[in-house]
């Protein structure tokens, strides 16, 4: 068993026993060995005395060489049990007389050694002594003792020693087993207490303090520790209970929240459903609204032109009012639709590279009537290095259109200026459009929600100036869509300055430019020579549209072939090989997408540009299927004219090395006034715009 792991009780007893035993053994061994040594010394002294007597008694015998007398003298040693042998040597070392004890088995008779005195030889004590007579040396006496007294004394001592050690050890055991409790008792009690505490986990238990010694202090410390633990335990339990309560509360809350979440989810689904229904409704409505508007605007335009030709000037104003109201309604519908598309994130970018100054020119020309309506003048400053930019031209145009029409709307007898320049910021080329006016301006308060939808600076403004209030909101969103920014500086009564920054090269994730490039990059080799340069195929199931388109295009000098269905359109396309095809989407049986697909799949027809003219607002789909342009009904006829003219120019330039006469370009230039424009369209289509 490992000594170190003994219990304290045993250790204490062991220590006591060992210590006392060692003390007893050492002291008695010291005492006994001292006694034995001194006894041995006294023995030797005794033997010396003995030798002296014997020597004295035998000196005369030796002097008179009387061996028998000497032998008799030596024989007297018989009484001494321990003397085993005695020898008398003459002066010259010869044995003179000797005595050997009867019990001695093998006496050892040494030659007389040179020195006198006693010595311990083995287990014998030997004495050599001079024998002299009246101071004269006569011989030497040798006495040999077996020290039996010493031996018996040593034996006796050994037994005494042993019994002494045993008895004292026993007594020490008794005493220590009683006394060790002084120390081990409290420790064992402490241990018991600790075991009880750890077993039952009850911290109310306290160890009893017996004495004021170190163990007592240890017990005090232990008790203090226990109280501390008890306190903490209580606190812990308390906290735990609280935690449990709170957890329960939380769980209840979670359940409640989950229920609420479910309800919310249901509500959300409902809302989404409602939203979808709303979108569908809007889409339907827009279709339903545009179709009649198409007719109203188209026919009022036709009527105006015809009335003009007939010279019934008094009716023209009325017709123009009908036309203006129709267009306003159309722009309202378009704005609402655009906004809802942007909100739904379905507004994509249709990127193309275009010349900025050309675009500005067109804009100004188009907007001139609106600008000059309030007796405003326009100043255009274009930087020389403007060049081209790559962006969604439709949206850029709409942004500028909104800004300019706002400026002209809120300015009276003032100046509207347009500044465009190019700058470089953060390794990127930026185009800055700056539209300034000297109008009523905007207050700081109004600036805050200027770009929010359906908000105009003032409710009264709507009444006075009209408008949907969506223009800036849409502009703002378009600018953001193209990674640009728009800002405004204004003082009430001092006019406003709107600044739009757009990247010179707008990028999007989806590249849709490839198809649009076709307009400018049509390869010459694929152009068919037999192409009928004046024929335009109109495919639309709506007879009103067919009628309007025919009349409008015919007026522009084109030969129009109309088809009421997709099948018919495809057949006619092969027959007439038109310059351009205008294609509606929603048609019975074979819809516009199918027709477009088939057109592009047919190698003979795939080169013919297709302009989608539809109420379906899905430009992306159109461009993906290979359409060249996408126009939403009711058709902006000016824009349509421009597009067709572009296609024709592209074709004729590649075909006939620019044989087309410049005049023909002017013939079809669709510079037409709109909504009370002061410009007039001449019979051959020429436009005169009073630029101030």
């Amino acid at each position: 068993m490992n000594l170190k792991n003994l219990s304290i009780k045993r250790k204490l007893m062991l220590i006591t026993m060992l210590t006392s035993g060692l003390a007893v053994v050492l002291s008695s061994a010291g005492f006994l060995s001292y006694d034995l040594i001194s006894f041995r010394h006294s023995l030797s002294q005794d033997l010396m005395t003995q030798a002296e007597i014997i020597g004295y008694n035998s000196a005369a015998a030796m002097a008179f060489k009387d061996e028998s007398a000497a032998t008799v003298t030596l024989s007297a040693l018989q009484a001494k049990e321990d003397i085993v042998s005695a020898v008398l040597y003459t002066r010259d070392g010869k044995v003179f007389a000797q005595y050997i004890h009867a019990n001695t088995r093998r006496p050892r008779l040494p030659a007389p050694p040179p020195e006198r005195g006693y010595r311990f030889e083995g287990s014998y004590l030997e004495v050599f002594r001079d024998v002299s007579l009246n101071g004269e040396l006569v011989g030497t006496l040798f006495l040999q003792s077996d020290m039996r007294q010493w031996n018996s004394r040593a034996r006796r001592y050994a037994s005494i020693f042993l019994s002494f050690v045993l008895i004292s050890g026993f007594i020490a055991l008794l005493v220590s087993s009683k006394l060790q409790k002084l120390i081990s008792g409290p420790i064992l009690h402490l241990e018991d207490t600790m075991r009880m505490v750890s077993a039952t986990k009850s911290y109310e238990v306290r160890a009893t303090k017996f004495y004021g010694d170190e163990i007592g202090r240890l017990i005090d410390g232990f008790n203090t520790m226990l109280s501390e633990i008890q306190q903490r335990d209580t606190a812990f339990h308390h906290a735990n209970d609280e935690l449990k309560t709170r957890t329960l509360q939380l769980e209840g809350e979670i359940v409640h929240r989950k229920e609420m979440q479910k309800e919310l989810l249901t509500a959300k689904h409902a809302a989404e459903d409602a939203n979808r229904a709303k979108s569908a409704f809007l889409a339907n409505m827009s279709h339903e609204l545009r179709t009649p508007l198409n007719a109203i605007i188209g026919y009022s335009e036709m009527l105006e032109e015809e009335t003009h030709e007939l010279g019934k000037v008094e009716n023209i104003k009325d017709l123009q009012k009908i036309q203006g109201a129709g267009k306003h309604l159309l722009s309202l519908i378009n704005d609402v639709l655009d906004l809802s598309k942007i909100e739904a994130g379905r507004m994509g970018l249709h990127l193309e590279t275009f010349d900025i100054s050309q675009m500005i020119d067109e804009m100004v020309t188009t907007l001139h009537p609106a600008i000059s309506k309030n007796s405003n003048t326009i100043q255009v400053h274009l930087a020389e290095d403007l060049g081209a930019m790559r962006a969604d031209i439709t949206k850029v145009r709409q942004i500028l259109f909104n800004l300019l029409s706002n400026a002209s709307k809120f300015t009276d007898h003032g100046t509207i200026s347009v500044d465009v320049d190019r700058s470089t910021e953060e390794d990127q080329d930026w185009i800055r459009f700056r539209v300034a006016d000297t109008g009523i301006g905007i207050t700081a308060k109004q600036k805050g929600n200027l770009f929010q939808e359906f908000t105009q600076a003032d409710v009264s403004i709507a009444r006075k100036y009209g408008g949907t209030g969506l223009g800036l909101a849409i502009s703002y969103r378009y600018v953001r869509l193209m990674n640009g920014r728009i800002s405004v500086e204004s003082e009430p009564g001092q006019g406003s300055v709107f600044t739009v920054h757009l990247p010179a090269k707008v990028t999007t994730e989806v590249t849709e430019a490839a198809q649009t490039e076709k307009i400018n990059d049509l390869p010459a080799a694929t152009i068919e020579t037999k192409s009928n340069m004046d024929t335009i195929l109109v495919i639309d199931d709506d007879s009103v549209v067919r009628d309007l388109m025919s009349r409008f295009l015919t007026r522009l000098g084109f030969h129009v072939v109309a088809a009421a269905s997709g099948e018919e359109g495809l057949r006619l396309a092969k027959q007439v090989n038109p310059l351009v095809v205008t294609l509606d989407v929603i048609m019975p049986d074979c819809d516009g997408w199918a027709v477009l697909n088939k057109l592009k799949a047919d190698p003979e027809l795939s080169e013919i540009p297709v302009i989608m003219v539809t109420v379906v607002d899905n430009e992306t789909m159109g461009f993906e299927l290979g359409a060249s342009n996408y126009l939403i009904k009711p058709v902006d006829r000016d824009r349509l004219a421009v597009l067709i003219e572009k296609h024709r120019a592209a074709r004729s330039s590649t075909l006939t090395n620019a044989k087309a006469s410049p005049a023909s370009r002017h013939n079809v230039s669709p510079k037409k006034g709109s909504g009370g424009s002061k410009g007039t369209i001449t019979a051959n289509g020429k436009v005169t715009v009073p630029l101030t």
């Binding site: 004295y56 008694n57 000196a59 005369a60 015998a61 002097a63 008179f64 060489k65 009387d66 007398a69 002066r91 010259d92 007579l133 009246n134 004269e136 040396l137």
Partner: protein
């Protein structure tokens, strides 16, 4: 003390030279017998106490007289030469009966040679009251009133002591000597009790 030690050593040497080798061969040689006897005489001197009156002074020598023919040769002289017993030296004198009367009376030890057999009674009678240790070398000397007498037993030199004679002579003989001696009673030569 050193001198004494040296002296003893020389004495031992001389003694051993004189005694050595011959001590036990007494049987044939007279000289070895008398060598032993000479040693005995010296030893007697050690074990006998004289009354203080026997010496004139504290350090007066012990005088050994040889009465009659000297059987020792120079042996006795050699043995006692330079010896001291109780502070006294030893002197050997050769004496003749009837001639050196005064010297005889002043001896401390008187060896009566065997040559003086006829004078034994006279000598004994003359020395009777004197503190002189008389030593005889003839049978019956002690019985006839001498104090010590040499005998031969088993070829060994032994001696007889007449204790009464010693007492008469006021000599104290050590018991150690007496234990070795054969004690004899005085027997008058003429058969009469000595008075």
């Amino acid at each position: 003390m050193r001198k004494v030690g040296l002296l003893i050593a020389i004495t031992c040497l001389l003694f051993s030279m004189a005694v050595g080798g011959h001590a036990e061969g007494l049987d044939s040689s007279d000289s070895s017998e008398y060598l032993i006897k000479a040693g005995f005489i010296y030893n007697f001197a050690k074990l006998v106490e004289w009354p203080s009156t026997a010496f004139a002074q504290q350090d007066s020598p012990i005088v050994i007289g040889i009465l009659g023919d000297d059987p020792f040769g120079g042996t006795l002289d050699r043995i006692v030469a330079d010896k001291k017993i109780n502070g006294r030296g030893l002197v050997v004198k050769r004496l003749r009966w009837g001639k050196d009367v005064k010297d005889i009376r002043e001896c401390n030890i008187l060896f009566v040679s065997s040559s003086e057999k006829e004078h034994i009674d006279n000598v004994v009678d003359a020395m009777k009251w004197l503190p002189v240790l008389t030593i005889g070398d003839a049978p019956g000397f002690a019985k006839r009133g001498g104090i010590v007498n040499f005998t031969l037993e088993d070829n060994k030199v032994r001696f007889e002591v007449n204790v009464e004679a010693a007492k008469r002579a006021d000599l104290t003989i050590s018991s150690r000597l007496l234990t070795l001696a054969r004690i004899v009673q005085q027997v008058p030569a003429d058969g009469k009790a000595l008075q």
